[in-house]
């Protein structure tokens, strides 16, 4: 692994609130983490846990009914202090690219693939049309798409090909960081495996820093060096992927891991977490997981547990971890 100590992204106390007819909805709640140059940080959580909102807040493309506060830095630069046009000129596509959820369906059906490359980056680069197309065909080769597809229309491509095109597009201006939101969701397993394999090769080749978002723990296990687990807008655990999935500390992470079907196993019962995630307009007091947590004690209903370090690089936010003997900590 080529992880350096250079901090590519810093997120500090990030919050996002949506205005909804029912009241304010806190989709991202006091989230802090770092991403180091060359690493792949996985973000995992069930639907509605705030993953997409977190990604949009980092790159500042939130919908108009949202307001956010907290700090996001990219290579030390505070994005909050930049104007929209400065972000477009200096940051988006050139330093960070974002591949939104289901973005392969957003390709304009009226334009050929090559034109989409040219149009998309026009505002962000001085490259000529010819240069863009040359770079695009080189990138398409890397992601396993025949460069002749630059002349095709989106509807002439399969779902897997379109997703590869979106990844190539994100790489066009040689960004250092790429944020991918559910890039393999809704794909068949064989196509997903092709994309995951391609992604691993690409990372080695381009030495990219990535944030890879998925609701699927097993997908994250395939691509991440470190992983953060989200629940109800909060980051509840973060650490090296081997530790978080091998020795999970937070009761939610533990429950989630027990619920994942594992093709290698056929034993006991299929785990699940009783209940369902909370309504974020009226979230539970204290720890948001307490209504579903079998370890909950009195304090959990009153106080949000702070994120604390329990093992090397391995943090979790839960009141009872230090008193649980089954976790084998110190």
């Amino acid at each position: 692994m080529l992880v350096s100590q250079t901090r590519a992204i810093g997120v500090e106390g990030l919050n996002v609130e949506f205005y909804t007819p029912r009241g304010a909805l806190r989709a991202v709640n006091d989230v802090s983490f770092e991403v180091y140059e060359g690493e792949s940080l996985g973000i995992v959580g069930e639907s509605g846990s705030g993953k997409t909102t977190l990604a949009s807040a980092i790159i500042r493309v939130l919908p108009s009914n949202a307001r956010s506060w907290g700090r996001v830095t990219v290579y030390g630069k505070d994005l909050g202090s930049m104007s929209e046009s400065q972000l477009n000129r200096e940051v988006r596509w050139r330093v960070i690219s974002y591949v939104p959820q289901a973005s392969q369906n957003a390709l304009d059906p009226l334009y050929r693939v090559g034109d989409q490359f040219v149009e998309t980056v026009r505002a962000h680069t001085d490259m000529s049309e010819k240069q863009v197309l040359e770079k695009a065909s080189e990138l398409l080769k890397h992601v396993g798409v025949d460069p002749s597809k630059l002349n095709s229309y989106p509807w002439e491509l399969s779902g897997g090909q379109k997703q590869r095109v979106m990844i190539a597009l994100a790489l066009l201006l040689s960004p250092k960081i790429v944020i991918l939101d559910e890039p393999t969701t809704a794909m068949d397993t064989i196509i997903q495996a092709q994309i995951l394999e391609m992604f691993r090769q690409l990372k080695q080749f381009e030495r990219l820093t990535t944030i890879f978002i998925s609701h699927d723990i097993s997908v994250i296990a395939n691509v991440a060096d470190r992983v953060g687990v989200m629940y109800a807008g909060r980051l509840v655990e973060i650490g090296p992927v081997e530790d978080v999935f091998g020795r999970p500390l937070h009761p939610y992470t533990q429950g989630l891991l027990r619920s994942v079907p594992d093709i290698r196993r056929k034993d006991g019962s299929f785990g699940y977490i009783p209940g369902s995630p909370p309504d974020l307009v009226n979230p539970p007091s204290g720890c948001p997981f307490h209504p579903r947590c079998s370890y909950a004690v009195e304090i959990c209903r009153k106080l949000m547990p702070p994120m604390e370090l329990y093992a090397k690089d391995h943090y979790a936010a839960c009141h009872v971890i230090s008193s649980r003997k089954d976790l084998g900590l110190g």
């Binding site: 779902g159 068949d188 997903q192 995951l196 619920s259 079907p261 093709i263 056929k266 019962s269």
Partner: protein
């Protein structure tokens, strides 16, 4: 592979859909010669990528689509030749739970309305109190309790997991012998999938025969004893689920299994098949899998491999399987 032990079976079943492509008529060969029986009390999985014909096979077994050729046998009898009363029995005995059962539901529909619908149509109970009791029993089976409270709720007010359980309750209320589940948990979040799988697992233990259609082999591994693998309208492998998953014989099954991610970072997926599933209008000649198969030889382009018993109880349709 169709005998008296089979509650429900497809026999040489073909389902073609007529479509127009660029003004010309064509056939989508959704199911193209499938013979597969559901043994009483045994759960069978049907797996394969989307577009392989799984849902169409399920619908044909329910007689919701008309076979182009071949037949569906209910307890050994061709369902297109049943008497009125026999047909009514079959309608009640074979139930299907769809992927998103309340996708386009009337917003006023209550859980009671949904669960009672089938019973009403077939006029199973003439007495209102009896009907209510049947509805409550079904809701209790899927652990939507207190059933009386859930029965009054609108479907639209339920979470995804609860809706899916209503879908199962609605099938169970008919007291069927066979339940066909189409991607029963694919849309659900990980933390709630297990609850539904466990509910259905209990129905297995009371002797219901399940067919579980899904692209998720991990769930099939857990839930079923037998599995059939479909590719472009054909069954390419059948056998005991454990054996098929541990040692798949058909190259397509091998690719499917190797592509399944596991929650362990030390084990990565492998991509063994190239490209994507072709169009079912013009399937490739010879072995339909040959353009993607890493082991394809000359013969595969010309000759279609038949499903044969490669090892005792293990069937595969590949020239080279052994």
């Amino acid at each position: 592979m169709s005998d008296d032990n089979h509650v429900l079976a497809a026999n040489g079943l073909q389902v073609y859909f007529r479509v127009k492509v660029g003004g010309k008529r064509a056939n989508v060969r959704a199911v193209d010669g499938v013979t597969l029986g559901l043994e009483r009390g045994v759960s069978t999985g049907v797996v394969g990528e989307s577009g392989s014909g799984k849902t169409t096979l399920g619908k044909a077994l329910m007689k919701l689509v008309k076979p182009t050729a071949g037949s569906v046998l209910f307890k050994g009898k061709d369902v297109s030749k049943l008497s009125r009363s026999e047909f009514k029995k079959y309608r009640r005995s074979v139930q299907m739970v769809f992927q998103d059962p309340f996708d386009s539901i009337d917003p006023l529909f209550t859980v009671h309305d949904a669960v009672a619908e089938g019973l009403r149509i077939l006029g199973v109970y003439s007495d209102r109190a009896e009907l209510d009791q049947a509805v409550y029993r079904a809701l209790e089976t899927v652990r939507l309790v207190p059933a009386e409270d859930y029965a009054k709720r609108r479907i639209t007010s339920l979470s995804g997991g609860q809706r899916q359980r209503v879908g199962v309750a609605r099938a169970i209320a008919m007291n069927p012998e066979v339940v066909i589940l189409d991607e029963p948990v694919s849309m659900l979040d990980a933390s709630v999938k297990g609850e539904i799988i466990n509910v259905m697992g209990q129905l297995k233990s009371v002797g219901k025969t399940f067919m579980m259609i899904t692209h998720d082999i991990s769930t099939v591994r857990f839930f079923t004893e037998r599995v059939a693998v479909m590719y472009l309208g054909k069954v390419v492998e059948v056998g005991p689920t454990d054996e098929v998953v541990n040692e798949p014989l058909h190259p397509y099954t091998q690719a499917l299994v190797a592509a399944v991610p596991v929650p362990d970072p030390s084990q990565k997926v492998k991509s063994l098949a190239q490209g994507e599933i072709p169009n079912a209008i013009a399937p490739p000649p010879g072995c339909r899998f040959h353009p993607r198969c890493p082991l394809a030889q000359e013969i595969c382009r010309r000759e279609e491999p038949l499903l044969r018993e490669v090892r005792p109880g293990r069937y595969a349709a590949c020239h080279f399987a052994q």
